[in-house]
């Protein structure tokens, strides 16, 4: 173990020396408050006593051990780990945006509200819907909002018995989870041999207790459902409403309006499609967009524009029959500012190019990799491609091993074993922000891994070999989780 590796394994608590100080607190500029009664205060609270330089080095070193979109190609399927342009951050950090407080009165934050109003408008235009709410803080929360709106509308029409929610087996895993959380009974609809929703199976489920259907488009197979208009028609004829999971909008941006296809409600992941930070990099945003039928139920608040001709004012309002608030205030504003910047920087032609290049890049990888990796469908993919490592598995290298081996070649691993309907699935999403040179290097690495599988499978089986931490024992971590630091290594 090198000195550097040893160093990052020592936690701040283990670096603590009594009496060392890491910060000098400023003189209070507010009146001192009395502490609560002594009996309510803890005496056993361990706090690390570490000087500032050591804290800075500790966290800087940790950050340098990270794989991130700023350091590596990150083809993690279905997550759209595209590059996040720095100009987005510059705008979000403007003092007039970064320094405001969620509880300031509307008249003091007209600029911020105007930005939100414009984001609402842009998302409505992009999706072909009638209205939007920026309140949901993540994609799955957007999903939940969407189907709660569907539920409330059914209830208000005296059709609260509609409790069956259909979800194709190629959907995002969060879809059935959200439906179950909202109290729906989830029925899975199989995928046909082309990767489309099985229409015959769908028609059998179009019964009077149908609430609706949640569809990820393109699906997590990276395929556009060619029967989607018919799917929406079948659901509508049975009295249901159709929800679109917009997580894969990077494939359709500027090409297809979901509203035109027949969808009634959808969410967008600003942290995927609109290049705001993702994963550990920042909070998310999952705005929902709706057709007029669901507009009164939007989660609160939404921004309303009043007046015209340069005398507009902006107010936060509560839609008439809202499903309620889903967050303490009004969405993650800093994320909205970044998405606004992204949309304005690219413009409509630029946004169209995003999806064109995203689909082109994925198909380039498909064509170059399909000789060595099994592609289980005979058609074009959209913005991501699902390959199977089942040919490699025969040589002893599972999808997991291939994914870990990619880390040694300097690439983030793709999503593994999802979607569940493809054996040894490797879900690869290059995004539009990667150059042909980067994609070629990735193809070379994938081909090398296939070659190694035949010649020296132990290379992949023991991978990664070059990362600060080697192969983690995921099974043991799940079986015997070690969740809390204890003094003396307990």
């Amino acid at each position: 173990m090198t000195a550097r590796q040893e160093d990052f394994r020592r936690l701040l608590m283990e670096r603590s020396v009594p009496g060392r100080v890491g910060a000098i607190l400023p003189t209070p500029d507010v009146p001192l408050q009395k502490l609560p009664d002594e009996s309510l205060l803890r005496k056993d609270l361990d706090m690390p006593e570490v000087p500032e330089p050591e804290v800075v080095r500790y966290f800087t070193n940790l950050s340098q051990l990270n794989f991130s979109i700023d350091t590596h190609f990150y083809p993690l399927g279905s997550c759209t780990m595209k590059y996040n342009p720095k100009v987005n951050d510059e705008v979000a950090f403007l003092p007039g945006f970064a320094g405001i407080h969620p509880l300031q009165p509307d008249y003091q934050v007209q600029g911020a509200l105007k930005l939100m109003s414009l984001v609402q408008d842009y998302l409505v235009e992009i999706t072909g819907m009638a209205a939007s709410s920026l309140a949901p803080l993540a994609g799955a929360q957007g999903e939940l909002c969407g189907i709660l709106m569907i539920q409330k509308r059914h209830q208000e029409r005296g059709e609260g018995h509609r409790l069956k929610m259909l979800v194709p087996d190629s959907a995002h895993g969060t879809n059935p989870a959200s439906a179950a959380m909202a109290g729906f009974r989830v029925v899975s609809i199989p995928t046909d041999g082309r990767g489309n929703c099985d229409l015959e199976a769908l028609k059998k489920e179009a019964t009077p207790d149908l609430a609706g259907m949640m569809i990820t488009l393109p699906s997590t197979l990276g395929l556009f459902d060619q029967g989607i208009v018919e799917v929406c028609r079948v659901i509508h004829e049975a009295g249901g409403l159709v929800y679109a999971d917009g997580a894969n909008m990077n494939a359709l941006l500027g090409q297809v309006k979901m509203g035109d296809l027949g969808f009634d409600v959808m969410h967008l992941n600003l942290h995927k499609t609109f290049s705001t930070p993702h994963g550990g990099g920042g909070p998310g945003a999952g705005p929902v967009c709706v057709q007029p039928v669901l507009q009164p139920y939007l989660p609160a608040p939404v921004v309303e524009r009043r007046g015209a001709d340069g005398r507009e004012t902006y107010t936060l309002v509560t839609p008439e029959k809202t499903i309620g608030k889903v967050a303490a205030s009004h969405g993650n504003f800093g994320v909205l500012a970044r998405a606004y910047t992204y949309i304005r920087t690219l413009g409509d032609a630029g946004l169209r190019q995003v999806s064109e290049n995203a689909v082109l890049n994925a198909n380039y990888l498909l064509e170059r990799l399909r000789k060595r990796y099994h592609f289980p469908f005979d058609r074009r993919c959209m913005h991501e491609v699902v390959l199977s490592a089942d040919w490699q598995k025969e040589k002893g290298v599972r999808g997991l091993d291939a994914a870990k081996r990619l880390l040694d070649y300097g690439f983030h691993a793709p999503t593994m074993y999802f979607p569940l309907t493809v054996a040894e699935a490797l879900l690869i999403e290059p995004t539009e922000t990667e150059s042909k040179e980067t994609l070629d290097l990735f193809v070379e690495a994938m081909n090398a891994i296939d070659r190694e599988a035949g010649e020296a499978p132990e290379l992949a089986q023991g991978a990664p070999h070059t990362t600060p931490v080697r192969r983690l024992d995921e099974a043991r971590a799940a079986r015997r989780p070690d969740l809390r630091w204890q003094r003396d290594g307990g």
Binding site: M416, F418, L420, E474, A475, R479
Partner: protein, 130 residues
Amino acid sequence: MNPTDRKYSKEHEWAKVEADGRVLVGITHYAQDQLGDIVFLDLPSPGDRVEQYKKLGEVESVKAVSDVFAPVSGQVVEVNPELAERPDLVNDDPLEKGWLARISSDTLEQDMDNLLTAEEYEAFLESEAH
């Protein structure tokens, strides 16, 4: 690899009739291999009623959470007490030490007739792999 002393379902469970007429059930080698390392099992309680081909419980592996189906109908007499602490037994020894439940079936003969023989199960695996 799939012993002939028991029968199999297309969902990759096995059922073995014991000397006292009760049925020991578990998942096959193929199933544990597909699931990967198993980390948790959610099994019924003794006394619960299960139906053939309906859900018996859930298996969580590092890859996914999957349903396990009952190969026979009846009342659960016992679930494998070792699995709470040692879910990996299902990976290491799915056919013996990694059994899931013991079921007292009231439709034993008919249920067992519905299942596949070892030979038929292997042919089924072959056809699945096309």
